[in-house]
Amino acid sequence: MSDATLNGAAPAAPRKDKVETPFRRFVSEFAESKIAVAGLIVFTAIALVAIFAPWIAPQNPYDLAQLDIMDGRMEPGTVGGGGFTYWLGTDDQGRDMMSGIMYGLRISLMVGAGSALIACVVGASLGLLAAYAGKKTDTVIMRLVDLQLSFPSILVALMILAFLGKGIMNVVIALVIVEWAYYARTVRGTALVERRREYIEAAQCLALPTYRILFRHLLPNCLPPLIVVATMQVARAIALEATLSFLGLGVPITEPSLGLLIANGYEYMLSGKYWISFYPGIALLITIVSINLVGDQLRDVLNPRLKK
């Protein structure tokens, strides 16, 4: 950490509470990249839209009473039968695309973030265990990781969904199985270095239980790379879920995510009705890019090798 930032921060806030804490340092380093901050703002906006979709969407796209089949496949900007403007057009059932996208974002983000979180817990635990226990446990877990990473993620997900069938829960299970290996590998790598440190030895001398050493001592010190991987994996999970749903293997038709919305527009696109597929795709793209931008900057900030 350079003194320049420290001094730069001091005059801006003459109050006593501007002591440099690791968190503040992290925030100021993160803010060095304007594009990453923009990514964070965009992503926050998307997340808010997704969370509050039922209150801000112009229409509930799943309430059939609100849909007017006469308004089907209207171009963006058309005023519908009920004096209602469809800014992004309507799909074949007269559903407002803007509302559909807002609700779709909810499902996409929920599945993406949910599976990334579960995979993180599972993967990080196994990674920690592998690094801490060593020997046979390590070999077994890491062989499993190697085996899985030698197959492309789409193939593993395809295989699992072929066994389990469609459904939101099954997609989450598939994504967790696809992703846990990345977390396990990352955490094990860091934990192998950390477990040779004195504080672990000290904890062992105090005869603390293993779970306590693992989760209270080892894990917090493995967090930085884990956060980076988790961010990137959320984006990957969202993209993979969209792909699976597009292929008809993901979420059911009653709860369409962005991928399914895009798939629904496929047949109409050949007759020039582009908006049914186009706008959900743009929403998906913006979501993924904004998460990736944040992740890229996090990687630079949290990487000890790049510390100034």
Binding site: L158, L164, T243, L247, L270, Y274, V289
Partner: protein, 325 residues
């Protein structure tokens, strides 16, 4: 080397066995085997006879051994939909997928190398920044959506290229290939580009990084000091040296290109094995699903084995490490 080869072969064999257990348990134990193997329109008596004939009354491990024995003889069941051996169906579709995958690899080098070279030689030029931004987009864009947009622009609005299918095929070695006819090439252009998108970004980044590293090497400085023309330095001294790692990585990506062709084939209705598996999953044609999974697993293990062996030949450290443990 022989010891290493044997060890890797044994390892690969174990992986194949493990995967066959997973696929077997996945399809036969999680799903209902009667429903999987017997056509849904069979009546009760036919059903019971089939259960006995297929040995479904045996314990699971015995069933697995029967499955394995049949699989070793190339019998992976018959498709419900096409009423043909599942293995034959998949092998018939394989040339289309391979053609598409190789087409995509070819495009990724054809487009990625020059762009990466330019971005590496002039890292600060606006065009280079645009190329790099484009490559980030290439990593982030959902493949299937780009495919749809390609169809929309080039097939629907401009009408330059056909939107779906394989077009006319020519015959070579007794198999049908699209790249032998003009119509086939026109059909192949969009799917191949779509599949190549991710790889193009990868090649751009690899080439750029390679060029920037190589430009700082002493032999490049020396070549310049000798007064060689910049073109000669770039294409003979720099280009040759970055080509090997780039081609290696692209070769390694063959497996994942084949896997991701599932998506592209579905978008462009390309009649390859990827489209077949998606259709089969949607209509629950499970013998085909099992056969596809077993073949693709075998394919990946072979690719991984070849990659590992090539590495160990190129890099003696890999061999020594395995010997040590």
């Amino acid at each position: 080397m022989t010891v290493y080869l044997v060890r890797r072969l044994i390892q690969a064999l174990f992986v194949v066995l493990a995967m066959s257990v997973i696929v077997f348990v996945g399809v036969f134990a999680i799903g209902d085997p009667v429903e999987i193997l017997i056509s849904p329109d069979a009546d009760q008596i036919e059903r019971e006879r089939a259960v006995q004939a297929l040995g479904l009354d045996l314990p699971l491990w015995q069933q697995y051994l029967v499955f394995l024995g049949n699989a070793l003889q190339g019998d992976l069941g018959r498709s419900f939909v096409f009423n043909e051996p599942a293995l034959k169906l998949i092998l018939q579709r394989m040339p289309a997928t391979l053609e598409l995958a190789f087409g995509a690899m070819f495009l990724s080098i054809l487009i990625g190398l020059p762009l990466g070279l330019y971005a590496g030689l002039r890292p600060n030029a606006p065009a280079s920044k645009a190329i790099m931004a484009g490559s980030i987009l290439g990593f982030s864009l959902p493949t299937f959506w780009v495919g749809l947009m390609l169809i929309m622009v080039f097939a629907v609005q401009l009408g330059w290229l056909p939107s779906t299918g394989r077009g006319d095929t020519g015959t070579l070695f007794g198999l049908h290939w699209s790249f032998l006819t003009v119509d086939g090439l026109a059909h192949m252009a969009m799917p191949a580009l779509n599949l190549a998108l991710f790889k193009i970004s990868l090649v751009i980044r690899l080439t750029r990084a390679g060029v920037r590293e190589t430009m700082l090497m002493d032999y490049v400085k020396f070549a310049r000091a000798k007064g060689l023309s910049p073109a000669r330095v770039t294409f003979v001294h720099v280009f040759k040296n970055i080509l090997i790692p780039v081609v290696t990585v692209v070769g390694l990506e063959l497996g994942s290109t084949i896997a991701f062709s599932v998506v592209t084939e579905s978008v462009f209705a390309w009649p390859g094995m990827g489209k077949l598996i998606i259709d089969s999953i949607n209509v629950l044609d499970r013998p085909v699903i099992v056969a596809y999974l077993m073949i693709i697993v075998l394919m990946f293990i072979t690719i991984n084995l070849i990659v590992d062996l090539t590495y160990s030949m190129l890099d003696p450290r890999v061999r020594l490490e395995t010997k040590g443990t």
